[in-house]
């Protein structure tokens, strides 16, 4: 699925992405700094009726939220990690294989930890307030 989204219709896009990819528990979000990874995850969490503040896990590495629709959600950011071993030590692997929904920013830091089957979400810059998003399911 490929869509281009404007900041103003991000909620609508989040709904479409959810319906397309909800069969997968692990979602890997690719895109450079400022591409909007945290922003689209915030929109997804808003759609999933998460009540807690959804903020960047760059510092905390793993945030956990509760959603009445999706259950426990792990929001991870591997930006500060060096490799897979460190991701394992930080508890990333435990989350990925917990059966909970996992939204992972900077998954390229630990590609070997991704399960066989996952949703790949790529964000690209078009212009200010506009991004293209491609969603692909890997089996």
């Amino acid at each position: 699925m490929e869509i281009s989204i404007h900041k103003n219709n991000i909620q609508e896009a989040a709904t479409r992405i959810w319906n397309f990819a909800k069969g997968e528990k692990v979602w890997a979000f690719y895109g450079e700094m400022g591409a909007g990874k945290t922003t689209i995850i915030k929109a997804l969490c808003a759609f999933l009726e998460v009540r807690e503040p959804v903020s960047s896990p760059t510092f905390s590495i793993i945030n956990e939220y509760q959603s009445p629709i999706a259950g426990t959600l792990c929001h991870m950011d591997l930006y500060r990690l060096k490799d897979e071993q460190e991701a394992v030590q930080a508890g990333v692997e435990d989350c990925i294989y917990s059966g909970n929904y996992c939204f992972i920013e900077w998954p390229e830091k630990a590609p070997g930890l991704l399960p066989h089957s996952f949703a790949e979400i790529k964000l690209e810059f078009i212009r200010e307030n506009e991004r293209s998003i491609s969603v692909k399911i890997h089996h």
């Binding site: 945290t38 903020s55 960047s56 990690l81 930080a90």
Partner: protein, 333 residues
């Protein structure tokens, strides 16, 4: 007299402190310089280093306080939030001591402790006061009604202020930690030279993610036309970025003060070391007739003295933890 040994290991520093009542007798910090070369705190290195540091740090804290473990009335530790592996080291150490010495255990929330760091020392705010806590992982405005009755009025919806400094520094090609370098270069730059996005969400909440994105696009375009742009404008860029972050913080602090009518204003957290922020708060304080409180620098960054002072107030209220209380990476307040 109540004496407490406090341990803080939520992130990259291993800290221990001893207090007698509300007086801090020692405050020891073992910094893990190893992280700088990786561009950030590395969780595994952090927890391993905590294990290596914790015994000598606790020993040193007791030695400087001229007390022994048996003189203590309670053992306190940081329960949340932080890196789980790091928190566990401090928590297990504190629990073991509490069990062996048969002393009460006190679990402390790191963010509450940052606010109460303002109660260390001679010049204390009177209640109720407002505290702007700014660090690498947090940005909050808290209303303190009493030592243990704190209320979060606003917090960041995305990136923390410290993260905005560090990520902007990375975009500028500066080494980690970038915040202090931005502060240094900003002193020689023009804060109004460049304008960046200034997201101001409703109410007292903060947002810094748009600022980071705006810096990124600005640099990308500017470097397309002039590959030397970064080097030629480093001071002005740092000054303008710092000015923008501080302006966002101050605007929200003013709003919080207007909404609550409180003029006792404190700052806390590692970013309160930023000289631009200190100046801006003092200037605003003069204009608005605020009483400004900034803890000593050693009590602003992560430290165990703030855990000790918080534990002292919890001790007085009989708020003890059990051995079953485990640390949490992200506990709600």
């Amino acid at each position: 007299m109540i004496s407490i040994l406090a341990i803080e290991s939520s992130c990259d520093d291993t800290c221990a402190a001893v207090c007698s009542d509300a007086k801090i007798l020692s405050n020891v910090i073992a910094n893990q310089e190893v992280h700088a070369k990786y561009g950030g705190v590395v969780p595994e290195l952090a927890s391993r280093a905590h294990m290596r540091n914790i015994v000598p740090v606790v020993d040193e804290a007791l030695k400087r306080a001229q007390l022994s473990l048996n003189d203590m009335d309670a053992i306190a530790f940081t329960q949340a939030p932080g890196l789980l592996g790091s928190l566990l080291v401090g928590a297990q150490f504190a629990k073991s001591l509490s069990l062996v010495l048969n002393m009460p255990l006190i679990a402390v929330h790191h963010m509450q402790a940052h606010v109460l760091a303002n109660l260390i020392g001679e010049k204390k705010p009177s209640f109720p006061f407002l505290c702007l806590t700014v660090s690498g992982g947090h940005t909050q405005i808290v209303k303190a009604n009493s030592p243990l009755d704190l209320e979060i009025l606003g917090e960041t919806l995305d990136d923390a202020a410290g993260e905005a400094f560090d990520k902007s520094a990375k975009l500028l090609g500066l080494p980690y930690p970038g915040g202090p370098l931005i502060d240094k270069y900003a002193k020689e730059g023009d804060p109004l030279k460049f304008t960046f996005a200034r997201p101001l969400p409703e109410g007292i909440n903060f947002s810094f993610s748009g600022l980071k994105t705006s810096v990124m696009y600005f640099l990308r375009d500017a470097q397309k036309n002039d590959p030397e742009f970064l080097q030629m404008n480093m001071q002005d860029l740092c000054a303008s970025i710092q000015y923008t972050i501080i302006e966002i913080l101050i605007k929200k602090l003013i709003r919080a003060s207007e909404l609550t009518g409180i003029k006792e204003i404190c700052i806390a957290g590692g970013v309160s070391a930023n000289s631009g922020l200190r100046k801006a708060i003092e200037k605003t304080g003069k204009e608005k007739n605020w009483n400004i409180y900034i803890p000593d620098f050693q009590y602003c960054t992560d430290n165990a003295a703030m855990i000790a002072i918080t534990a002292y107030y919890k001790f007085r209220e009989g708020q003890f933890a059990s051995l079953k209380d485990s640390p949490s990476a992200r506990a709600l307040w």
